[in-house]
């Protein structure tokens, strides 16, 4: 589903402080896959995730989504791509603070102009799955870290994207919440068939993943 061919990425290219962040990356993520990018800090996990999610540009190579090249699209098309086909979960501050949990979950569906009934149904479905049904009318500031991340995950999958990219989703959580979050993401992967790619060095995330892609110094060393 996702294919990367000879992808290179530099920061501060041409300058003295030039960093070769991604070196000749060749990678394929299949439909429904549950994988994690691992490696030490600064190895390029987040950079690779951002490149796949067309949040950031690459300097050479190609990235394909379902056979379509997505690395050279214009900004408007990339935005639409992120809206319709790619979901994101960040490390923290994912949620819109002034919207309720239900509104946050349904946010992307609202942007995609789904009907109110469809939104309501999907929100309740995901809330039940992620065990946050009782919090639907709460504001994000009243939730714990783990609950907030579950809401972020629910939002990411609500409109049924092809792939969810999660950047260090457990970094700010304790082990109990990390485990709970990972269990729920696994459940989603099995039930919805959505591909999930993490960037993480959390041991529990690595344990729960079906495929570990190891990165070192910007290059894939094991997969």
């Amino acid at each position: 589903m996702i294919k990367l061919e000879n992808v290179e990425k530099y920061f501060y290219k041409g300058l003295e402080k030039e960093v070769h962040a991604l070196k000749n990356i060749n990678l394929e993520i299949k439909k429904g896959e549950y994988a994690v990018l691992s490696g030490p800090s600064g190895c390029g996990k987040t950079t690779l995730l951002n490149a796949i999610g067309v949040l950031d540009t690459i300097d050479s190579g190609k990235i394909y989504l379902d056979g379509r090249e997505i690395s050279a699209l214009n900004e408007e098309t990339k935005t639409r791509l992120r809206l319709e086909e790619i979901g994101f979960v960040f490390q923290a501050y994912n949620l819109v603070p002034v919207l309720t949990v239900a509104e946050n979950i349904g946010f992307i569906m609202q942007l995609r102009a789904f009907s109110q009934e469809a939104i309501k149904e999907r929100v309740h479905e995901l809330a039940a799955l992620l065990q946050i049904e009782s919090k639907l009318n709460a504001m994000p500031a009243t939730l714990s870290g783990g609950e907030q991340q579950r809401v972020a995950v629910a939002r990411a999958v609500a409109s049924k994207p092809k792939i969810v990219l999660a950047d260090e989703p457990t970094a700010n959580l304790d082990s109990k919440n990390s485990k709970a979050l990972m269990d729920m993401m696994q459940k989603l992967n099995e039930k919805e068939g959505v591909s999930i790619l993490f960037a993480s060095h959390d041991a529990y995330v690595l344990e729960s993943a079906k495929r570990v892609i190891e990165l070192y110094d910007g290059a894939i060393v094991a997969s």
Binding site: N50, G53, L55, D56, E75, E76, T79, R80, R82, L83, E84, I86, G87, F88, F90, Y93, N94, V96, P97, V98, L99, E103, F107, I108, Q110, L111, R112, A113, R155, A156
Partner: protein
């Protein structure tokens, strides 16, 4: 989706309540003060214009060609009556009065002063300008030897109701003549020229005294429904000196223009500062949420939608201030319009300069509409700079921002 957008904008606008309330209070207070001052100044000017129209020249006055420079009786309009009768029937003419005027000396036993005697028809003057509203003391009675005296002239000559005075002048034949008068009323028109010199008597009596035909007058004053008639009258009566109010009182035109300039400058400066206030708050509010915006862009919200949300936020803040300011402003203006601002403590000073001691405000729609447009513009413009910042920032950097 737009409902969500509006909800987001509204909630974000009031997320930091203290800050937003401060801006709203600023807009409301400055707007209501500005409207009140504008209304009061306009009211003062309009009141002056209205009184000049009602007490003297109407929208337009007609004189014989040399009269305004010579002030001589021989420069009268001989067929004034027939002209007036023709004009009264003309469409667009509300009312017409004829006046006969002569300069001379008003004297009491102890004092004398330059005076201008004006022969009027009370019924016609009442229709023309509600003359009885100018009565300050006494009664509107110019029968027999009755006279109504201008308030400043009465002060100068120390006249009270029922006092006697003598008016001396030259008649049409050049002979010194005079009439003994009894003060029946004191008139305050707030038209400085009249209040300082006018003696109003019955026109028939004055015609007889001055030796002029009853058909003649020195002034024909008209109240018009349509000021476009002025040009027509100038053409139709090219043999007469036809002048509009502003031509007869250039000072009023200057004052109106000065007032417009002053109001415009005040408006501009206040709106500029309001703009700075909204911009400050919105700038900070947006900077604080850069990460949030970065994430929203990451998950698929287009820049265009984000821009609309932020514009809507700024508008919510600006318009909230506008609504409150307009309400307070209207209430204050209404009070000032109906009850006025009482400056009786300065009555002597104000009246000597032609102002009433109670100042009434005007209320015009354009006060509110112009302010509405300005606040909308200020609100929208205030977020241009912060929006540029968001637009040019990479999404990745935005999501990493630590506030």
């Amino acid at each position: 989706m737009y409902r969500l957008l509006l909800k987001l904008s509204f909630k974000n606008a009031f997320a930091r309540l203290s800050r937003t309330l401060l801006v709203i209070v600023m807009i409301a207070v400055s707007m209501s003060m500005m409207l009140s001052i504008e209304g009061l100044y306009d009211g003062m000017t309009n009141s002056m214009v209205d009184r000049v129209k009602r007490s003297d020249c109407g929208e337009v006055s007609m004189y014989s060609k040399n009269y305004r420079t010579s002030r001589a009786l021989k420069d009268n309009i001989a067929n004034a009556q027939s002209i007036a009768q023709t004009l009264e029937k003309k469409k667009g003419v509300k009312s017409v009065v004829l006046r006969l005027q002569a300069d001379g000396l008003g004297s009491t036993a102890r004092k004398s002063a330059f005076s201008t005697i004006i022969g009027i028809n009370l019924v016609a003057e009442e229709k023309f300008g509600g003359f009885s509203e100018f009565l300050k003391k006494g009664s509107m009675d110019i029968s027999k030897n009755g006279v109504l005296v201008g308030s400043e002239l009465a002060k100068k000559l120390k006249l009270k109701v029922s006092d006697k005075l003598v008016f001396s002048t030259q008649n049409l034949q050049g002979e010194i003549t005079g009439m003994a008068l009894r003060v029946r009323g004191i008139i305050q028109t707030n038209n400085v020229v009249l209040d300082r010199a006018a003696l109003y008597v019955d026109t028939k009596r004055l015609h007889k005294l001055l030796g002029l035909s009853a058909q003649s007058a020195t002034q024909i004053a008209l109240r018009l429904e349509d000021e476009h008639l002025i040009e027509l009258l100038k053409k139709r009566y090219a043999d007469l000196d036809v002048k509009s109010l502003l031509e007869l009182y250039p000072m009023i035109q200057q004052m109106q223009e000065l007032m417009k300039i002053f109001n415009a400058i005040t408006f501009f400066i206040v709106m500029l500062v309001v703009f700075i206030g909204i911009m400050g708050v919105m700038y900070v509010s947006i900077l604080e949420r850069i990460r949030e915006f970065g994430i929203m862009r990451s998950i698929g919200m287009s820049y265009a939608l984000l821009r609309r949300q932020i514009f809507a936020e700024a508008l919510f803040v600006g318009l909230s201030g506008y609504v409150i300011g307009a309400l307070i402003g209207y209430v204050v203006l209404y009070y000032l319009k109906v009850y006025g601002l009482d400056l009786s403590a300065f009555a002597e000073g104000l009246e000597s300069f032609g102002y009433s001691s109670i100042l009434h405000a005007s209320i015009e729609l354009h006060y509110f509409s112009a302010t509405f447009l300005a606040i909308v513009a200020a609100s929208l413009l205030s977020v241009v700079l912060p929006l540029r910042k968001i637009k040019h920032m990479s999404i990745v950097d935005a999501t990493k921002v630590v506030i």
